[in-house]
């Protein structure tokens, strides 16, 4: 084994790096309990009034409901689209398969603003009015690459001979999928649903161009950032999102690696 050097230095670096990632984000909950509309040190006192204010705000509830709806539909649609594609790309040699994968992944490499305006142009040419449905469509486009990546890594992670055995025993391709493949990739499916939901839930820019009159949560937050006296309750909202998405990420990752021996390898895939 090659000698490991600089162990402590690297560890300290990693800790500092984590601090760099977390400290700005943790200011949200910190100031959300501060008893002053001024967001500055020193903190003046502890209060939960911003949370009460936020929970009582009907516009927040409506925006939250809209985001949940858009996110749920986009997640189901993206995962449903990605499932057969992931199966085709991992199980069959398909001519042009990598081209399709490239096209699906393209949305990761195009700035969101460009995706937003190009869809806006298409919708206006077709005469389709903007609504939460058009936002959902935009979100499906950005969710598909995440869904395909998660599902493909899951499909590559189990023994294909289980599928072959089922086919040899006389099950049809369809039944083999439902009774063998699907249960084995179910953790990947759940993870894909959660990650897609979070991509949609967090998206601002595509929604900004495609939204009609009903705001999603990021659109609502964007509107509030202009008013200083509204900031503390926006921070309370941000703190709630932080907690909720932390829980979802952990569930998504734990579920995704469930039943895989090499669990750490799946996270970055």
């Amino acid at each position: 084994m090659a000698k490991k050097s600089g162990g402590l230095g690297l560890f300290l670096y990693a800790v500092f790096y984590l601090a760099f990632l977390y400290v700005p984000v943790l200011f949200l909950p910190l100031f959300s309990f501060n008893n002053s509309t001024f967001i500055a040190f020193p903190l003046s006192g502890f209060t939960t009034q911003w949370y009460q204010q936020m929970f009582a705000d009907e516009a927040v509830q409506q925006a939250l409901f809209n985001s949940l709806r858009v996110g749920a539909i986009a997640a189901v649609a993206a995962t449903t689209l990605a499932l057969p594609a992931a199966k085709a790309l991992t199980r069959y040699r398909v001519p042009g398969g990598s081209a399709v994968l490239g096209l699906a992944n393209l949305s990761l490499f195009i700035p969101e603003i460009v995706l937003g305006i190009s869809l806006l142009i298409l919708l206006s040419v077709l005469g389709i009015p903007l609504s939460l449905w058009t936002v959902t469509l935009g979100h499906v486009v950005i969710c598909v690459p995440f869904a395909i990546t998660v599902l493909m890594s899951r499909m590559e992670g189990f023994d294909e001979s289980l599928e072959e055995a089922s086919l040899d025993l006389g099950e049809s391709g369809w039944m083999t999928f439902w009774r063998v493949t699907f249960p084995l990739i179910l953790p990947g499916v759940i993870s894909s649903l959660l990650l897609s939901f979070m991509v949609s839930f967090d998206d601002f820019l595509i929604a900004y161009f495609l939204v009609g009159n009903d705001a999603t949560l990021p659109i609502y937050i964007w509107g509030q950032l202009r008013f200083p006296y509204k900031l503390p309750s926006v921070l309370a909202l941000g703190a709630m999102i932080l907690v909720a998405s932390t829980i979802l990420v952990v569930i998504a990752e734990v579920v995704r690696s469930y039943g895989l021996k090499d669990r750490h390898k799946m996270v970055g895939a």
């Binding site: 090659a2 690297l10 560890f11 670096y13 990693a14 790096y17 984590l18 760099f20 990632l21 700005p24 984000v25 200011f27 001024f38 967001i39 500055a40 040190f41 020193p42 689209l81 990605a82 057969p84 199966k87 085709a88 790309l89 069959y92 001519p95 399709v100 096209l103 699906a104 393209l106 490499f109 195009i110 700035p111 969101e112 603003i113 460009v114 995706l115 190009s118 869809l119 142009i121 298409l122 486009v141 967090d202 601002f204 990021p218 937050i221 964007w222 950032l225 926006v234 941000g238 999102i241 932080l242 998405s245 932390t246 979802l248 990420v249 952990v250 690696s257 669990r263 750490h264 970055g268």
Partner: protein
């Protein structure tokens, strides 16, 4: 007649059952259809729009290069292209340099808790992008965390005004927001490296530094390139960060694109600005990847 049709349908069915390719294409077709309809078609339409002109409320579809002439000719737009590329290049460089040791640590120094580290590194990425950017406004602002902190410690008496509303604030904020996009690809490529290669290099008498430079670094280059492209390309089009923390000196190309679509109502010009910025980014990316490949070839 019917007999012939049944026969050809039968042949088709047999072909389908036998052919992996046909089955694969059938499974791929829904994804392909939506991606063509909602990604390729809009992009093609955007390209078409960039050759048209805005005629009051209507669009004149007579092809012209007028929008490109404006996009590339007007000094303010040219300056914005340069600035967007500079800012994104700086973000990419800083993010990749900071992320590399972190990814290296998880890939090579962590054993049983890799999973925990990777989750810890991704969690901040999943919390509201808007609010992560906004958090930096809270930190760098006139009454922000840094200024109020330093003042309550008595280190300064006037808030520092150079912290917020400039390109540096945009770079810092983006480097924070896009960190996971650097860590994960680099981590994956480091994790794939066959550890016996390092042992072999050690057995042949290479020290830690030489081992890193001649084995680890070159083999992790695909991850580094992936990370760089994954950050550089989308950040050039970021709108939220320049708007919130950029100030007038930190405006980027996305801000004028948004303006054309939202306020001015000149979609063809907005489309041309978007196309031109994507082309500029594509050229810059290809040059960068070629340069990095050439440098890597020289190391080996």
């Amino acid at each position: 007649m019917t007999g012939v049709e049944v026969g050809s349908v039968g042949r088709l069915a047999r072909f389908y059952r036998r052919s992996e390719a046909a089955r694969g294409l059938l499974l791929l077709s829904p994804t392909m259809a939506i991606m063509l309809a909602a990604l390729a078609a809009p992009m093609i339409l955007l390209a078409l729009y960039s050759f048209w002109t805005q005629d009051g409320y209507a669009v004149n579809t007579q092809p012209t290069l007028a929008q490109y002439a404006t996009s590339l000719g007007r000094p303010t737009y040219r300056a914005l292209f340069y600035r967007s590329i500079e800012i994104s290049a700086a973000v990419t460089l800083i993010t990749v340099l900071l992320a590399y040791p972190m990814a290296y640590f998880v890939a090579f120094r962590v054993d049983k808790t890799k999973f925990v580290w990777l989750i810890l590194l991704t969690i901040p990425f999943w919390t509201s992008y808007l609010l992560r950017v906004f958090a930096w406004k809270l930190i760098l602002g006139y009454n922000g965390v840094i200024n109020s902190g330093l003042m309550s410690l008595g280190l300064i008496h006037q808030p520092l005004e150079f912290l917020l509303y400039n390109p540096t604030a945009v770079v810092v904020t983006l480097a924070h927001a896009w960190a996971p996009f650097a860590i994960l690809p680099i981590y994956v490529s480091l994790e794939k490296i066959d550890r016996s290669l390092l042992d072999a290099a050690a057995d042949l008498g290479d020290g830690a530094v030489r081992r890193f430079l001649r084995v680890t670094l070159p083999l992790s280059l695909p991850g580094v390139i992936g990370a760089a492209v994954l950050i550089f390309v989308p950040t050039t089009g970021d709108y939220v960060t320049p708007t919130l923390v950029g100030g007038s000196g930190g405006v980027m190309i996305a801000n004028v694109i948004e303006e054309q679509f939202d306020k001015v109502g000149n979609w063809p010009l907005g489309a041309a600005l978007a196309m031109a910025s994507m082309a500029a980014v594509a050229v810059a990316t290809l040059l960068f990847v070629a340069a990095l490949r050439a440098a890597a070839a020289r190391i080996r």
